[in-house]
């Protein structure tokens, strides 16, 4: 499982700046009206507002974009996409930034990246996610002994109700291994 994260963000990587091109194209017509910011349920917790984030994308301020937590705080409610007067796919643009952070394995966004990668690893192995296995993979990857405690009470409740069987992570047959491989290979093709 590829859960390695980089220790530091390398902003000197000139090739990296091209990564933003598809995101920039999505928000090219932004008029900085702030409807997205005003519509976002998570804005109260963001260090950079969505409106400002799009400005940073348009001006290629890579460092500020990936230092901020803004895109990881997008919960995909689609209010901004629905209301944007320019009809821009803003939720998708947030997703594209999440994908870039995941691809580079940025330490700052380690928790979200490992959470989603653990989920997909369980899917790759078995085709369908096994909730208990997925959370075990996530806890192991995070290496924080206190983290499972936050979910212990809920986990026990779910087990007592017979909703999640106690499963030891197993490699399985790699049910979707071929699909995952093909998706990764073609990821390089624009």
């Amino acid at each position: 499982m590829t859960t390695k994260v980089k220790e530091e963000i390398d902003f000197s990587d000139a090739a990296g700046s091209d990564d933003l091109t598809p995101v920039r194209e999505m928000v090219q017509a932004c008029i900085q009206c702030g409807t997205c910011t005003g519509s976002c349920p998570n804005e109260f917790a963001m260090d950079v507002t969505p409106r400002r984030l799009w400005r940073l994308v348009l001006t290629g301020q890579r460092e500020e974009i990936f230092q901020s937590q803004t895109f990881t705080l997008c919960s995909a409610c689609y209010y901004c996409t629905l209301r944007c007067p320019r009809g821009l796919p803003l939720t998708e643009a947030m997703g594209a930034l999440k994908q870039l952070a995941a691809r580079e394995g940025l330490t700052r966004h380690r928790q979200s990246i490992l959470f989603y990668k653990s989920f997909l690893e369980s899917v790759r192995r078995h085709g369908r996610v096994r909730e208990m296995e997925f959370m075990t993979l996530y806890f192991n990857a995070m290496k924080n002994p206190l983290l499972p405690l936050r979910f212990a009470a809920l986990g026990v409740k779910l087990m007592l109700k017979g909703k999640v069987p106690l499963q030891i992570p197993s490699k399985g047959g790699g049910a979707l291994a071929a699909l995952f491989r093909q998706a990764a290979e073609l990821e390089e093709v624009p």
């Binding site: 349920p41 998570n42 109260f44 917790a45 990881t72 705080l73 919960s75 995909a76 409610c77 689609y78 209010y79 996409t81 629905l82 939720t91 997703g95 594209a96 999440k98 994908q99 995941a102 691809r103 928790q111 979200s112 990246i113 959470f115 989603y116 990668k117 989920f119 997909l120 899917v123 085709g127 369908r128 996610v129 096994r130 909730e131 996530y138 936050r150 979910f151 809920l154 409740k157 779910l158 109700k161 017979g162 909703k163 999640v164 049910a175 979707l176 071929a178 699909l179 995952f180 491989r181 093909q182 998706a183 990764a184 073609l186 990821e187």
Partner: protein, 295 residues
């Protein structure tokens, strides 16, 4: 009313009462479900956050499998996140032939091909449009009169695709709830966000979003949901949030087909009421009272 059925992973695990109640309620309402053979994960919010290709291929794989099945091409999906992932592929390939090619290049790894000939439908749309309040009212044998129900839609069955309801001010559930004999708890939180996976990765933010929803549910006997993630967020952290905010925010949270199943005369066990995490003793008492009155 015949549908291909895509349950999604949660409905085999933490949301199995959603699966159970969806099946028994739809059967009681006269609908017929055929599960898609060999279905796999839709990618949830994980694929979108890591790989564009997986975010397309994982849902498309299931649409391709659905196309291979005979009969109806209508796919019924109870989970809003699964629904949107599948729907987005259906909608996007209609306008983008190159995207369809890209998807098929990935699916080729499994010898699958997607032609774009399916119609993805959320369970709520099917309940509202195909079944409708009249049929529910006619089939209601145990009126839920005396109960006040807060309809919670969440985000992804409403937005970005406005297929069956107003994405800003949803109201499709109201006539359905009324058809069961219950009253609608009027609030403006029906289409607000529960925080999705924030409860796992950004807990403080998730708790604040859920707190604001639960605090507006006060006065309702129950909140009904149409998504396993909304359900889990609203039901599983009530004690913690109540303690943190210093107010009692405990409220019963049910899946819509559980509520409707009860109205149609199905037992608490048949709709899986014992599996929910937040069903108050007060709610159960009131439910039994309303049923006794009706009987």
């Amino acid at each position: 009313m015949k549908y291909l059925y895509y349950p999604g992973c949660s409905l085999e695990g933490s949301a199995r009462e959603y699966d159970r109640s969806t099946r028994v309620f739809l059967t009681a309402a006269g609908a017929e479900l055929t599960e898609i053979e060999g279905w796999t994960c839709c990618g949830a919010s994980a694929a979108e956050a890591t790989s564009r290709n997986l975010a397309l291929a994982l849902p498309a794989r299931n649409l391709a499998l659905a196309e291979k099945m005979g009969g109806t091409k209508e796919i019924l999906v109870p989970c809003s996140a699964c629904y949107l992932n599948l729907k987005a592929v259906e909608e996007k390939v209609k306008r983008d032939a190159a995207l369809l090619d890209r998807i098929n290049d990935i699916l080729a790894a499994e010898g699958l091909h997607f032609a774009g000939r399916v119609r993805v439908r959320h369970l709520l749309e099917v309940i509202v449009r195909d079944i409708g309040p009249d049929l529910i009212s006619k089939k209601t044998t145990r009126s839920l009169a005396g109960l006040s129900i807060a309809p919670y839609y969440g985000c992804q069955c409403l937005r970005p695709y406005a297929i069956f309801d107003d994405p800003e001010a949803p109201q499709s559930m109201a006539p359905i709830i009324e058809a069961s004999g219950a009253a609608v708890h009027h609030w403006d939180m029906g289409g607000k966000c529960c925080g999705a996976a924030h409860m796992n990765t950004k807990m403080a933010v998730g708790m604040e979003l859920v707190r604001s929803i639960l605090s507006r549910a006060r006065g309702a006997d129950a909140v009904v949901t149409v998504c396993p993630m909304c359900q889990m967020n609203l039901e599983a952290y009530q004690d913690k949030i109540s303690k943190l905010s210093g107010e009692n925010l405990t409220v019963t949270v049910l899946y819509l087909p559980q509520l409707l199943g009860l109205a149609l005369g199905l037992s608490e066990q048949e709709v899986g009421l014992d599996l929910n995490l937040a069903v108050t003793a007060g709610f159960k008492e009131k439910l039994r009272e309303s049923m006794d009155t009706a009987a």
